[in-house]
C-alpha cells in the first residue's frame, strides 16, 4: 500500500478509535452524573434520603468510578500493546480459585445465573491478573449478550494447556462477524449493533497470544456463542518472570 494511503488508513483508524472511546466513556459518565444529580436534588429537597438510601447511591457512584477506571486501564492496554510495551507477570497460581473469584464478582441476583464447572484445583503458570481480566471480560459479555439466559463457564485441563469456555445462549454472531469482533477499531454500526464493540475482546486476544495461547469464538445465529480461551499450563515465559 502506498505511504499516503497507509497514513490515511492509520488516521481513519485513530479517529474511529477516539469515537469508540468517547462512546464507551459516556455510559459510565452518564450513570455517575445521574447518580450525583439525584443525590443533589434529594439533598436540597425537604425530605432528604434515609441513610441506607444515601449509602446505596454513594456505592452506585463508586461503581461507576470503577467502570471508568477499568476503561482507562483498557485504553492504556491498547496503547501498550500497540507500542509493543506490554508486560506479563508469570506466577504459579490456582486458576480454578481465580476463576471462582471472578465469577463471584459477577454474580448478581439481577444477572442470569452463571453455571460454573471446574476442577476443584487447577495449578498453572500464567499471569494471574490477566487471566482474571480475560475471564471477567468474557463472562460479562456473555451476561450482556446472553438474552438473560444462564451462562455456562467451564474450566478444564487440555493436555499441555488449560481451557476456559464461556457459553451464552443469546442470538449468536453471524459467521461474517466472528473475526470482526476481535478487531481493535470496530465501528459503531446502528444497523448492526448486535455486533460486540469495545476494546475488551481485542485486548483479551492480544493478551492470550502474548501468553502463547489463543482466544476464539464458535457461534451460530439463534444458538448463542461460545468463547474459548486456551493457554499453556506451564508458561515458556516463566523463566523470564515477565515478557514483552
Amino acid at each position: 500500500m502506498p505511504i499516503k494511503q497507509n497514513l490515511e488508513a492509520e488516521l481513519k483508524a485513530r479517529d474511529e478509535f477516539f469515537s469508540l472511546v468517547a462512546h464507551e466513556l459516556r455510559n459510565p459518565l452518564n450513570a455517575l452524573h445521574l447518580t450525583l444529580a439525584g443525590l443533589l436534588r434529594a439533598q436540597n429537597a425537604t425530605t432528604p434520603l434515609a441513610p441506607d438510601q444515601l449509602a446505596s447511591r454513594i456505592n452506585r457512584a463508586s461503581t461507576q468510578v470503577s467502570r471508568l477506571a477499568k476503561l482507562v486501564d483498557d485504553m492504556l492496554d491498547v496503547s501498550r500493546i500497540s507500542a509493543g510495551r506490554f508486560n506479563l507477570q508469570i506466577e504459579e497460581f490456582d486458576a480454578a480459585a481465580t476463576l471462582n473469584e471472578a465469577v463471584g464478582r459477577l454474580n448478581d441476583p439481577e444477572n442470569p445465573p452463571i453455571n460454573l464447572m471446574t476442577l476443584p484445583t487447577l495449578i498453572v503458570e500464567c499471569d494471574r491478573t490477566r487471566f482474571a481480566q480475560m475471564a471477567s471480560n468474557l463472562i460479562a459479555n456473555a451476561i450482556a449478550y446472553g438474552d438473560h439466559k444462564p451462562v455456562t463457564v467451564r474450566l478444564e485441563a487440555a493436555g499441555a494447556n488449560f481451557r476456559l469456555e464461556v457459553q451464552d445462549h443469546g442470538k449468536g454472531i453471524a459467521e461474517a462477524d466472528q473475526e470482526r469482533i476481535f478487531e481493535r477499531f470496530v465501528k459503531l454500526e446502528p444497523e448492526n449493533s448486535g455486533v460486540r464493540f469495545g476494546l475488551g475482546l481485542w485486548v483479551a486476544r492480544e493478551v492470550a497470544r502474548a501468553l502463547h495461547g489463543d482466544l476464539r469464538v464458535q457461534s451460530q445465529i439463534g444458538a448463542g456463542s461460545k468463547f474459548i480461551l486456551e493457554l499453556p499450563r506451564k508458561s515458556a515465559l516463566a523463566s523470564l518472570g515477565r515478557a514483552g
Partner: protein
Amino acid sequence: MTNGRHTGKILVVDDDRGAMEALSDILEYEGYQVERAQNGLQALEHLKETRPSPNLIILDLLMPVMDGWEFRLRQKEDPELAKIPVLVVTAIGATAGIDAAGVLRKPVDVDVLLRTVARYCD
C-alpha cells in the same frame, strides 16, 4: 421516598444498569411511576402485557438483543403501541434514522430531561 409533584408512568429502556437505576431514582423521586426493560425485546414484551400503557418511553439506542432502532420499527407496527411517545437518550452522536419525539445525549442534563418528561406526563 418521593418528592411527589408529578404523575404519569414512564418505561425506561436501557441495558446500562447504573444509568437505569440512577435515572429511575430521579424520576421516582419526582413522583413518576417507573417501569424498566433492559433491551428492546423486553420492552416490547412488557408493553404488550401491561395496561395502562406508559405515558412516555425513554429509550437507549445501542443495546444487545434488540436495539433502539429495531424497537422503534416494531413499536410503530402496532397501532396501540405506536401512540406512545419516545424520548431517545443515547451516548452516540449518529442518531440519524431514529424517529422520536426528542433526542438527548448522554451525559444527560437532568433539568432538560425533567422538563421534557413533564411535557408528556403531566
